[in-house]
Symmetry: C2
Subunit: 339 residues, 2 copies
Amino acid sequence: MLEDRKLDVLRAIVEDYVSTHEPVGSKALVERHNLGVSPATIRNDMAALEDEGYIAQPHTSAGRIPTDKGYRLFVDKLSSVKPLTGAERRAIQSFLDGAVDLDDIVGRTVRLLAQLTRQVAVVQYPSLTRSSVRHVELVALTPSRVLLIVITNTGRVEQRTIELGDELAETDLGELRAQLNSAVAGVRMADAPDRLVGLVERFTAEARPAVAAVLSGLLESLVEEHEERVVMGGAANLVRFNPDFPLTIQPVLEALEEQVVLLRLLGEATDPSVLTVRIGHENPFQGLTGTSVVSVGYGTESEMLAKLGVLGPTRMDYPGTMGAVRAVARYVGKIVAES
Amino acid sequence: MLEDRKLDVLRAIVEDYVSTHEPVGSKALVERHNLGVSPATIRNDMAALEDEGYIAQPHTSAGRIPTDKGYRLFVDKLSSVKPLTGAERRAIQSFLDGAVDLDDIVGRTVRLLAQLTRQVAVVQYPSLTRSSVRHVELVALTPSRVLLIVITNTGRVEQRTIELGDELAETDLGELRAQLNSAVAGVRMADAPDRLVGLVERFTAEARPAVAAVLSGLLESLVEEHEERVVMGGAANLVRFNPDFPLTIQPVLEALEEQVVLLRLLGEATDPSVLTVRIGHENPFQGLTGTSVVSVGYGTESEMLAKLGVLGPTRMDYPGTMGAVRAVARYVGKIVAES
DNA sequence: CACTGGCACTCCCATGAGGCGAGTGCCAGG
DNA sequence: CCTGGCACTCGCCTCATGGGAGTGCCAGTG
């Protein structure tokens, strides 16, 4: 009973603080929520909550604000993901259905998430390691330089210029192209390297150095932990909807400019369909205290291709944000699977 | 004589204000620059400059700050582009030389510009319409579907899937590939369509429908007004090096998120090697008062491929910024031309 | 034992007065 | 045409003051 009410009080504090952005006091609390008890009683509960570390006072004799620990409890136990309205779902669908290619899908998703949550959106491109090779192309630039192009089934195109160090006859180039494609076309990126073993031996001794150069270039393209591309958008929301945020905005903006940081923010791979929420200090970076990240994987039913998420002040509307992130991830997953 | 000194005074005001970010008074002026006259004299000149609209007082009895008109005169008449140091040139070169493909070049250029100028950098991808075809590749996905890949001399790769509506034999496909390449390889995108006229007739009647489909796909790729891509970076600099800027930062951030706006900011096509400076209200957008844009074209010696530039507060170091922008544009032009 | 009303206390913050200092415009003299 | 002097303006910093919101504690009650 007492415990129950304490949790009610915590929930009320979080909700009020999120909507007003001001420390909330005992009197305001009983007025806005019908808790059925007097302010004095609430004060006792608040004192207890403070002892346990769920709320804090910015100054003596000010109202209370939730701590990271308080938000954590709120997210884990006191709130439920808020489903979107039908109109919102339809809007998402029609907005994403208009996409024409992968870049477009990702770009639209970022804008959509940013608009929907009024926060900063981060979307990762579908991982290369899980996609398969559709075609390998070789184009002679000069007799000793070759442009290597790898096309994946997710529509991504990887290219690199390779110095052969030696000349390679046009016929050998054609032969190599054919050999490469029959070896790896349709094969998953991760499995492709195995298929290339022993391929050098099929060429004449004089062609081998050049062939080896191409192979090693291709291997790099396939194996190399490709910097996973990440797109970010909605930075203006940082300022627009967070009037007091500007003070701490700089480290956040800096963080957002680093691809590596964005990737780490999205978190380690987990089950898709499980929302991850990192609150304040739980984030792996300095300067992101005061910032929370809501992320989730997306992909086909069977496997996760990448992640997407949203970043905003710890003082955010978690149920709503989580609902939006989850919904968008589902639609994007479907669209990527279809294409 | 009098006119000369008035211009000296304006120059001094701009320089001091840029470095201190504070209104500059007559006394400070004679102390920091050896103008050889007394503060009272300077005051008369300042009064005249104010009447003419080159400087203004934020409040009565504060120092003066340059107006947009003042900056304009400074840029046009009173300053010269500051060349970079040898160390800076070497740094640019080595940083850009490490790039492996077009995306990488553009990405590095943005980071470089942002770092060098400590402002927001904007770089446009080399325009497709001005580049030439390096190679056309056809890949049979199924007997009736072909993947068309166009590689440009600027390193850009355009792809599209084409439904033939009909089957095309592998030999015909090879023949078509050869014909296409001999027709358009090395030809400018704009001129390429002419070269394709009459090409259909060289194929057998039964192959013609499929060939025609490929041709029309290729024509679309060549002619279509491709959305010009623009990349932006260094938004954190807005906050970092402009302590008072945060107040007006929001409209700027919003503008920077719109590709279309970025494109318009870089300005209409002009001669490469001519630096464009837009100061404050000269920019075509609300909310960019207080913001200046320094931009320039880049490309090969003979023609301009795209533009790049930098955005910052009107109170910026114009000579230095212009020097950096010009130098980076030259190097990028070279690199794009070589690759 | 949990809840309540009352009360003294703390401390933030808005308000306003006062003083300092930087800078100006103007003027008379060189 | 330049200069030194001088009165004046006005932003800003500092300090003191008062109001108000909120708290903790305590004694009283069902």
